[in-house]
């Protein structure tokens, strides 16, 4: 009997430990995010670092984001045409591609790709700086590592991601346009007119807001995991993995919440 009880207690203790751990890391992440925001708002500012991160997060992500959006938009057009033909709804292709890309797929896929590309590299970079004591060295050189490393990345992430999302939206719609006009025989004038008729300013705004939120998440989580990286190569590897997994899940969860805020009536 006591044997069973101990096993049961161990099981409960395991659950308790996991829950406490989750609470602890959530709290730590929120505090870290607040510090990062404070670092963005309060001087000193490191402008050159910010510009460097804008290049890295924004500009160098363009190919990945563009290709993802192009193929997704094209595939979406094919699917809607195939599915829609059962209800004679082929004419809905442009509007559904536009709304699907701009409201959901543009920001979300862009966010996930950037989480993999940029979030991972931020975590690995800051993680190795932690492991090799470069972060401590910053402190001894009278430089606050949160301000010098984290704030520029978080600001750049938050500002670059809406731009990337806009690019993603446009190229996604363009992918649908290419497939729609060349493979599905929709007249190009009609395609563009149909897209413009159905797309509202609200769709675009929601898309860009999602982009900004996802960018913030990617940069904060990447910096957080790197900053708290464990020792050695293994610590950095784990930080990188955690950065990608955590930010991807947070992006999907935030996407649901934002959709709820913007579109539920």
């Amino acid at each position: 009997m006591s044997q069973v009880l101990t096993a049961g207690q161990m099981f409960l203790a395991g659950i308790g430990r996991a829950v406490l751990g989750l609470c602890r890391s959530t709290g730590a992440l929120v505090l870290f995010a607040l510090q990062a925001v404070a670092g963005i708002l309060v001087p000193p500012f490191y402008g050159i670092e910010f510009l460097r991160q804008m290049m890295r997060i924004g500009y160098f992500s363009l190919p990945v984001v563009g290709l993802t959006a192009l193929f997704t938009g094209g595939a979406l057009a094919l699917q809607i045409y195939a599915g829609g033909s059962r209800f004679n709804a082929e004419s809905a292709v442009p509007s559904i591609v536009a709304i699907g890309m701009v409201r959901e797929l543009g920001p979300v896929l862009c966010g996930l790709m950037v989480a993999g590309r940029v979030g991972a590299s931020i975590a690995a970079e800051i993680g190795s700086m932690r492991v090799t004591e470069q972060i401590d060295a910053l402190t001894t050189l009278s430089t606050n590592p949160i301000k010098f490393l984290v704030a520029p990345r978080v600001l750049a992430g938050t500002l670059a991601m809406p731009l990337l999302t806009a690019v993603s939206d446009i190229i996604g719609v363009m992918g649908g346009f290419f497939v729609g006009t060349s493979r599905l025989g929709i007249a190009s004038g009609n395609y563009i007119q149909n897209t413009l008729d159905y797309l509202t300013a609200g769709d675009v705004v929601s898309s860009l807001v999602k982009g900004a939120v996802f960018g913030f998440i990617i940069a904060v989580v990447g910096c957080f995991e790197g900053y708290n990286s464990g020792r050695g190569a293994q610590g950095v590897a784990q930080a990188t993995r955690a950065a990608v997994v955590t930010s991807s899940i947070l992006i999907l969860a935030a996407n649901y919440l934002l959709t709820e805020v913007f579109f539920s009536t």
Partner: protein, 253 residues
């Protein structure tokens, strides 16, 4: 005023979870003196150093610098008079050698024009025996000994009043270790700085130290002038200095 120690620690304690790393460390370092802390790995040498710099907040005890109590609020202010050489150099690998050395002068309060900062960095590099041709290399292109030198140049760039050395000779061959030891001694003497070094390299201790403190199990077991380490009469120091397997310090830690 001259009696105020540069650095004073009283009863500094720090635990990580159930691990009591420091159990009440008392230490004083007089102005212009070079103190070396010796002790095995994992005895809290680095933690002591990090408490003084403000990287780690002690659970208990007091740290005074120049007679001023160190608090989380004023810790940042003291950093301007500190310089630190890290064990692995801790050079910023995204920056060139001269940008590393001139780090403090490229941003913030003491900002200089880029050309001036570069000249200053090259001067400091020369002081540690590196030519101007190394200035534009990246840290990854340097050997371990050269990285230590660059780290030293960065630590002394802003003429600090207190310099910390974290295992300055670890990972270097004996000849290079000797060169770095000499360099540290020369620079500390010539700058009139107060120095605090942690090491387990006895050659280093004899070269660098004015005074020696032996840290074991989170407390200072012995403290005295470097000349006395061979006849300290302290079983811990005796065992450590002579590298004996038997004694109060367990070999398995």
């Amino acid at each position: 005023m001259t009696d105020t120690p540069k650095i004073a620690l009283r009863g500094v304690a720090k635990s990580f979870g159930s691990k009591h790393v420091l159990r009440g460390v008392d230490l004083t370092v007089a102005r212009g003196q070079s103190l070396v802390i010796i002790g095995g790995s994992g005895t809290g040498k680095s933690v002591t150093l990090k408490c003084i710099i403000g990287l780690i907040r002690p659970d208990a005890g007091e740290i005074d610098i120049d007679g001023t109590r160190l608090t989380p609020r004023n810790a940042g202010g003291f950093l301007d008079q500190f310089g630190m050489l890290f064990q692995g150099g801790a050079l910023f690998d995204s920056m060139t050698v001269w940008e590393n050395v001139a780090f403090r002068f490229l941003r913030g309060k003491g900002r200089l024009k880029r050309a001036d900062a570069r000249d200053l960095a090259i001067g400091k590099l020369r002081r540690v025996g590196l030519g101007a041709d190394t200035a534009d290399l990246f840290p990854a292109e340097l050997s371990g000994g050269m990285q230590k030198r660059v780290g030293l140049a960065r630590a002394i760039a802003a003429e600090p009043k207190i310099i910390f050395f974290d295992e300055p000779t670890t990972g270097l061959d004996p000849i290079m270790a000797d060169v770095i030891n000499d360099l540290i001694r020369e620079i500390v003497v010539e700058m009139g700085a107060t120095a605090m070094t942690i090491t387990h390299d006895m050659t280093s201790v004899r070269k660098i130290a004015d005074r020696v403190a032996m840290l074991h199990e989170g407390v200072v077991q012995w403290e005295g002038p470097v000349e006395r380490i061979d006849d300290s009469g302290n079983p811990y120091v005796h065992q450590f200095v002579n590298g004996l397997p038997d004694g109060p310090i367990a070999a398995l830690r």
